[in-house]
């Protein structure tokens, strides 16, 4: 299976967008090589603004560009966007509903060797709590590219969460991305696995293993955490009666929490959350970290078996 990093697909889609839409502008904070905005910068230098190592100003400037009718994509690492510039996102983007696309790369543990300071496991929680914010977590390259184009068409603030490592391409070239609909990647009747981002391909792996053990698992790719596709979540929770949420993020406040909130109010269902268990990360290879922090296909399999007992 071909592999693509979601940030690479974002960079490519951005360059395509630049050619299609004059109003698209891109901002970065001295990380354009890593966030992959460099391709856009090279092709459209007039519409690219490097703000230097100044994330508050990055978000604030993007807000001003949006207020003047531009469609700004502001990129830096997730920890510096959602973390460092939280109040700027809150007061200058979300509250005034400005059309800023915050495309944050290097989210989660898979940042790897840079360690805890750079591994942002709380951004979904922070961004999801903001009124007016749409939160999108693509699972693979094709979805990240499609999501980039889709959020550009969507009016309003968006947080697009992207990753560092290459992930298997789950979706084909013909994938019809709907920003507000969670695609069902695999049907199943015993347990529903809701996953986002890096965990989606692992959920598919887990479902394949579970099948061999006689457990039928559905896999739903919840790429948009907010607004959540409640209808699909409830349908699969009802159908399976057991659910797992899997995310490369803290178990506090992310996808698992969003699903638990809906189920708790409308369809109480036995549930297991797979995610970073309220701790900071550390340096290591992405695969080693995922193993150590329990973000693996095996962990999902174990969770499903536990639910089946």
């Amino acid at each position: 299976m071909a592999k693509t990093a979601t940030r690479d697909a974002y960079g490519k889609a951005l360059a395509q967008l630049g050619a299609e839409n004059e109003q698209v502008v891109v901002l970065d904070a001295d990380l354009s090589g890593s966030t992959k905005t460099a391709a856009f910068a090279k092709e459209f230098p007039r519409r690219f603004f490097n703000l230097g190592i100044a994330e508050a100003d990055l978000i604030g400037t993007a807000a001003g560009l949006a207020a003047a009718g531009k469609i700004p994509f502001a990129s830096t690492f997730a920890v510096f966007a959602a973390g460092r510039a939280y109040d700027q996102i809150r007061a200058s983007v979300a509250y005034p509903k400005l059309n800023v696309k915050i495309a944050a790369t290097h989210a989660g543990l898979t940042v790897g060797e840079d360690g805890a300071t750079h591994q942002m496991n709380e951004d979904i929680a922070l961004m999801r709590a903001l009124p007016n914010m749409t939160v999108v977590v693509p699972a693979d390259g094709p979805e990240a590219g499609a999501a980039t184009l889709a959020v550009a068409r969507h009016q309003g603030p968006v947080y697009l969460r992207l990753g560092r490592p290459a992930v298997p391409d789950i979706h084909g070239e013909d994938y019809a991305f709907d920003l507000f609909k969670a695609p069902v990647l695999r049907e199943g009747g015993d347990v529903a696995i809701f996953a986002c981002g890096y965990m989606v391909h692992l959920a598919l792996e887990a479902a394949a293993q579970l099948e061999k053990q006689g457990i039928s698992a559905a896999v739903v790719n919840v790429h948009t955490i907010k607004p959540l596709d409640k209808e699909t979540v409830l349908r699969y929770a009802r159908r399976c009666g057991r659910v797992i949420a899997a995310e490369e993020h803290s178990i506090i406040g992310g996808l698992g929490s969003a699903i638990a909130e809906v189920l708790g109010e409308e369809q109480p269902t036995h549930m297991v959350r797979i995610g970073v268990r309220d701790t900071f990360g550390e340096s290591g290879k992405p695969a080693e970290l995922l193993e150590k922090y329990g973000l693996t296909a095996e962990a999902i399999v174990q969770a499903a078996r536990k639910l089946m007992q």
Binding site: V25, R46, R47, F49, L51, G52, A54, A56, D57, I59, G60, T61, A62, A63, G64, L65, A66, A67, A68, G69, K70, P72, D87, Q88, R90, A91, S92, Y95, P96, K97
Partner: protein, 273 residues
């Protein structure tokens, strides 16, 4: 002097609105509103290109009140300029009012940027100035008003760098240099001086003026517009609480509403103009 009689009488009206609004709400920020009256009066009644029937007209000049707590002077200027009825001013800070404690661009006609969390307005102004440049609108000006205490925010200096780096000569920043913030004198809380030298060192064009003198404000803006290739800072010496004897130069009147009697006295003092 007669030349500015009209601006002077508008300024007096804005001051009376500020007192009435803050008194009616029993909440709000009179000190830093009163210090900025002449600056907003000059911008809204003399300098800015606007169309009140189209608040988002894409050729208009822009104003960002970075020190968003001075919303009373902002709303008073917008109302007097015709963006909404001055009668609405008394709904300031009340439940279900459009006139939120801090400016809200979504709901208040004429407000160009939502502010209130200090330190963010210059970044937004820069973004709007960049957009005007991209759109080839050379005759569109973006004004921003910062507080002297607000300059303690690091983001301001990020944005000061950005404006110079991108040669935003369409961006004109006023500093309301009233010397006071909440906890007392700016020089005591966290000194921001020397301002002129700081802005100059960041490659800005800088002027220092009397922020209550219409002629100086107008001249400074004209000079700023002629400074090609560089953003302009106009450091305006002002008196916090200007026009109300018991509020002048008193940090305590930063965010406190006058009682009924105090409001009556203030309104009386402001009548003579």
């Amino acid at each position: 002097m007669e030349e500015y009689a009209n601006l002077r009488s508008i300024a007096a009206r804005l001051r009376r609105h500020i007192i009435s609004m803050v008194a009616a709400a029993n909440s709000g920020h009179p000190g830093g509103s009163l210090s900025a009256v002449e600056i907003l009066t000059t911008l809204y009644f003399k300098l800015m290109k606007l169309d009140v029937s189209q608040p988002r007209w894409n050729q208009r000049d822009i104003f960002v009140l970075s020190k968003g707590h001075a919303s009373p002077v902002y709303y008073a200027a917008l109302a007097e300029r015709g963006f909404f009825s001055p009668e609405e001013l008394l709904s300031f800070r009340k439940i279900n009012s459009r006139l939120q404690g801090h400016p809200d661009r979504e709901n208040i006609p004429g407000v160009d940027m939502t502010t209130g969390s200090l330190g963010q307005g210059l970044s937004a102004a820069n973004g709007m100035a960049l957009a005007a440049k991209l759109d080839g609108q050379e005759q569109r000006w973006v004004y921003v008003l910062l507080g002297d205490g607000e300059l303690q925010e690091g983001q301001v200096w990020e944005a000061v760098m950005t404006a110079a780096h991108y040669h935003l000569d369409n961006c004109i920043a006023f500093v309301d240099w009233n010397g006071l913030q909440i906890d007392g004198e700016v020089s005591q809380v966290m000194n921001t001086s020397p301002l002129k030298e700081k802005f100059a060192a960041f490659n800005w064009h800088v002027q220092e003026i009397d922020g209550h003198d219409f002629a100086q404000i107008i001249a400074a803006v004209e000079t700023a517009k002629a400074a090609k290739g560089r953003p302009s800072a106009i450091i305006a010496r002002t008196i916090k609480g200007k026009g109300v004897s018991f509020m002048e130069n008193q940090a305590g009147w930063h965010g406190r509403a006058p009682g009924q009697e105090q409001a009556q006295q203030a309104l009386k003092e402001l009548e003579v103009e």
